[in-house]
Symmetry: C2
Subunit: 455 residues, 2 copies
Amino acid sequence: MSTEIPYKIYLEESEMPKQWYNVRANMKKKPAPLLNPETKQPVTAEELETVFCKELVKQELDDTTPYIDIPQEILSFYQMYRPSPLVRAYCLEKKLGTPAKIYYKFEGNNTSGSHKLNSAIAQAYYAKQQGLKGVTTETGAGQWGTALSMACAYLDLDCQVYMVKVSYEQKPFRREVMRTYGANVTPSPSTKTAVGRKILEKFPNTNGSLGCAISEAVEAATTQEGYRYVLGSVLSQVLLHQSVIGLETKTAMDKYNIHPDIIIGCAGGGSNLGGLISPFMGEKLRGEADYRFIAVEPASCPSFTRGVYAYDFCDTGMVCPLQKMYTLGSGFMPAPNHAGGLRYHGMSAVLSELYDQGLMEAVTVEQTSVFNAAEQFARIEGILPAPESSHAIKIAIDEALRCKETGEEKTILFGLTGTGYFDMYAYEKFNDGKMSDYIPTDEELQKSIDALPKV
Amino acid sequence: MSTEIPYKIYLEESEMPKQWYNVRANMKKKPAPLLNPETKQPVTAEELETVFCKELVKQELDDTTPYIDIPQEILSFYQMYRPSPLVRAYCLEKKLGTPAKIYYKFEGNNTSGSHKLNSAIAQAYYAKQQGLKGVTTETGAGQWGTALSMACAYLDLDCQVYMVKVSYEQKPFRREVMRTYGANVTPSPSTKTAVGRKILEKFPNTNGSLGCAISEAVEAATTQEGYRYVLGSVLSQVLLHQSVIGLETKTAMDKYNIHPDIIIGCAGGGSNLGGLISPFMGEKLRGEADYRFIAVEPASCPSFTRGVYAYDFCDTGMVCPLQKMYTLGSGFMPAPNHAGGLRYHGMSAVLSELYDQGLMEAVTVEQTSVFNAAEQFARIEGILPAPESSHAIKIAIDEALRCKETGEEKTILFGLTGTGYFDMYAYEKFNDGKMSDYIPTDEELQKSIDALPKV
């Protein structure tokens, strides 16, 4: 019967989701509230509105409404690059000789090269609705910055991007894509902001980090008239927008009567994983179905597996609200040899709470094994994957090989969040045999964890 | 009624073409035969088989069979990345304020980033069938080399790529993609071949050209046991394989009752344009329908518009058969300021003959106007286009604006052959205002045209 399933399932436009799904609405125990870093009291909407757009603050704080309408203008934008295909990895299955059925939801078929565009257009839209001049943001691997540039170009909004220095240098072409879409790109830490200058003074040779770029972008947003800050991951509003990935996947799977046994996603800040699993997790929370969820994180930045579940700053500059999450401490800087994204010290509050409740698992993988899986996947399935996505590929292959041993015909679904076309510097290192692994020592981690704020 | 047409039309797998269409079969006056450069007599299949795979020679010489079955293994590979979407450019139409309806067939949603994969898998497949060890080829902008690497990795064939030096240097990441797929990439001209050494001796500072890289690849194929040469454009077999673009487009348009008035494609060697227009041209040749076809070429390499229709070498090294085509002379080297592909001195024999019969038009556009159109398109339609494809975008926009003046509701179809993700060096020049135009002088052209072989 499996031959009846096409290589790629594309939904009809009429089948595409018209609402986002808010998984928090189905959680009995909700994620802990964001705290004001000074008062240690839950932040109010008013406080958040100095940093974020009004409507996005509403979405951030809403943990009860299960479905939220997607505005028509966002739906139109989605139609330019969505639905994304749900792909049956026939070729990979054959090559591995596994009885497992492997599916991946491929979010890379757009110029930003990843799923980030799903939230970028939403955040830019609400900024435009609010009559703002522009938005500021940070970008690590560059996917989010590119996505936001595209959304802002479409809506004619100014876009200021603080790009983690190591990415800015290793990915000059990412910068050019953003510039082509009219964005203003600054390597972070920079001397443009007070927080950037402070970090540079303390660590003049730093490669930068996502947490530090966030601090700069937040400062830029709050010191310029008519600007707000937007963020591509971690926040609950981002998971909400990214639920479009899971909703499309679920509709496609339901259409063909496919029930995934295992759902796998890479986890940096949690946006793709959270988006992919949301509707499935909703079923699990409501007791309607069961799934095994696996978060895959890099061994060099292991928030779930070696972090602590505690209140922490979302940024290195300690200007953002405190969030309860699995964290390595906002002072943690991932090793410079670590390629691509997934460099964030913390994790989505929603996913952290779900993980803490034992509703999902987490594993770590080392960098060279990830690139081995990436190369294998590229040669067999054709798509050259982003290093981030390749974390999920690695574990999907491992699970499929386990099925080969046991003879189980499990259905494995993973999120292929994006393409690696702007990550060839990392691939070059791998091709030259110059890529190395790095696992932080317990002492290193303890140092940044010890510095967590007292709440 | 236009709102009933989706943003993107994807065919069902069952609707995908199972046969390629050979437009030569419907041409009353056929393209002139290839000639042996020494005897000046039509080349025989046997002669060609020393360079090309047997089955491909058969396709190259077959100008009577209208439909040729696509082997199952190629169909399976096509299913990994096809059907490609036929996109209705609603956003572009709105922004231009034109009554025209604009459609584009987007071939960039695969890692090679272009339509080249359609012929690469076919050529690699026939090489594998023949029991060969590997294939050699040239690549200019890098799209063809990447496509061939992907096809060879899939079929486990060795792949040796001679890459035009200027591209090799400006696109190191293209090289890395090919290496990730296991290909061996050499900048051309190189000292690996006799013809390369000869060219380097004469022009030590040359940027290389497609014609010169072809010569090296052909020599490498004929001097190694178990290798043949494959080519990504110009040849009639390539147009045959690329007909899958036009066939899918036509099926999708027929399904929604859309009749294109104007069909536009960029023209380097003619592979994309030929593939896109083939089935439509077939209708025109059979008197069943009429269309206006426009080939768009760069002002810096204007084979159709300023070349002559004559027998010429396909390569600078003058080792390939002679082909009757529109050509600037095989000694013509495009200006180094010219970015991307479309650097070939000649043109497909099929398209040359169709053009000579007045069945299609050709126009030239200058580089900066092309990048202006590319940027505009990227910001409005989301996709950052390849410089090559942007030639077609420029003319599609011009035609749509003409409709705005006249009020005509024409339907415009153009080929969006690929993405510009590996062309950011060129975009950077454009973003920095450092891009310039170059139009060869009559004297320059006359010099290389005067050197045409006497037949």
